[in-house]
Symmetry: C2
Subunit: 262 residues, 2 copies
DNA sequence: CGCATCGTTGAGTGAGCTCAATGCATGTGG
DNA sequence: CCACATGCATTGAGCTCACTCAACGATGCG
């Protein structure tokens, strides 16, 4: 890959009209629908009117199981599908020249992956399952077809992308102006909120990623991640047992970086 | 502001249909058009077919002059317009709790600002002119109206947003895995490329931002920026006189970080 | 069982931070 | 026109946080 901040403007790209699902995607018994999905409040239809969600049911997409450590797509591959996580956890990552990987995001149920591929028509990052997972593979060309006849769907796509821009801006802020404790605190509180929104405990959870992956995401080494976990435990903010985390004092954890970010 | 990585999913947002331009935007003699703008290859119409650009001429927008140090919009303000830079330089920034600002981008002629506002309906960052400047203020609601009748315009918006996502991913990579010299080299080469694409010299230019702003953007202190400039000068990679930069050895500058990013 | 992966912890180091002094350019008011 | 203030950049000195290198234990898989 090459650093996008160094790239010249992109060449024109046209997306083909969507056609029949490919052989690689396993056949499903009955057509899956967004409107009766238990993740509809969090996922693609989030914030849509019910009539728009009904329209979204016209969307042809397939479910796909992904085993732990398998990749859903790799950077540079042709961009065809946007993926919504149904279950499991994914990481998005880029590979640096020296072989190290840079993790750019983690995705849990109800979250979308692959929108970075729209820009160039190729995926800008790779997506790897951190545990056995299932996704909805949504043909992007078909999604835009649908959007052509529905301003609700059109706004939806724009909003999802803009949200991604805002999210990354925050992460840049984190990487640009926080120390190790603040970074890890922000990461844990963010994960906690997302899990809570999905009906899981906000205070106790299991990390699906290694210390190295957390470190890569937060711009620090795995040793520093480990030491910072230990430090939080000594301060009685957390209980840490390998990947099992219990947040004892969320307030103090929040204060760790609310000094910098209001 | 609050860190978006900590936020729960957004509430539904509807954009009003665009109406007449507001009193705050000065009247213009004749309706400005994209199709005969000298920046059309770089700006909004970039990569569009000529028929789509003709369609884009239906877009009602106004020109607006901005004095140095004036803000175009502030974080939290209602998002109404997307801005295209016609001349001058802008910075996008967020304000941290301790009063420090975090610069998230610099914008020069032909570049867009404000797309981060789509997500929440409010601007997620502020835009400040670093020199006297002029922008095209494009009503976003009107842009989406236009997109509803044109898949080319619709793709354009998606692609521009996706490009922004990819750009920020690169910056995250920079902030997460590069040292001071690599960061400054990447910044200078990026600026050089963008200036070259606009017909300016790639090797000699004037920085419109302070050392503090560069430092904030790159995640380092102004002193380290200054020292790194001096180091590059000693290595005969640059000639630096305050804000005037001459790149002597672009190859060596590129090698400074091509070791990490291919 | 043996090997690989993952996590923890220690010791030492250094890149980049903070604090501080100084110089230069520009603007302003008397 | 001078005196003074202000903003920006440079440079030095010292320190510290997070990095590198290393050892070691635990876990899990083929």
């Amino acid at each position: 890959m090459s650093l996008a901040v160094l790239e010249a403007p992109a060449a024109p790209i046209r997306f083909a009209t969507w056609q029949a699902p490919e052989a690689m995607t396993p056949a499903v018994s009955s057509k899956p629908r967004c409107s009766n999905c238990h993740l509809r409040e969090l996922c693609l239809p989030s914030g849509m009117s019910s009539s728009d969600v009904t329209r979204l049911d016209g969307l042809m997409f397939t479910r796909r199981k992904v085993k732990s450590a398998q990749t859903l797509y790799r950077e540079g591959e042709r961009f065809q599908f946007v993926y919504a996580v149904r279950s499991g956890t994914f990481k998005s990552s880029l590979t640096l020249a020296d072989g190290r990987e840079q993790v750019s995001n983690f995705h849990i149920a109800g979250e979308l992956m692959g929108l970075d591929g729209v820009a160039q028509g190729n995926h800008a990052s790779s997506a790897t399952a951190l545990e056995d997972a299932e996704v909805c593979a949504i043909p992007y060309a078909h999604l835009t077809e649908l959007a052509a006849g529905s301003s609700g769907t059109q706004h939806l796509i724009s909003r999802l992308m803009s949200r991604e821009i805002v999210r990354e801006q925050s992460l840049m802020m984190l990487l640009g102006s926080m120390n190790a404790e603040e970074r890890l605190a922000a990461f844990l509180l963010n994960l906690s909120k997302r899990l809570k929104a999905r009906g899981y405990s906000a205070s106790e959870f299991h990390l699906r990623m290694t210390r190295a992956e957390i470190g890569s995401y937060l711009g620090m080494t795995l040793e520093t991640v480990s030491r910072t976990f230990s430090a939080f435990q000594e301060q009685r903010l957390l209980e840490v047992d390998k990947r099992h985390i219990r947040i004892i004092d969320p307030g103090a954890l929040a204060r760790a970086f609310e000094m910098r970010v209001h």
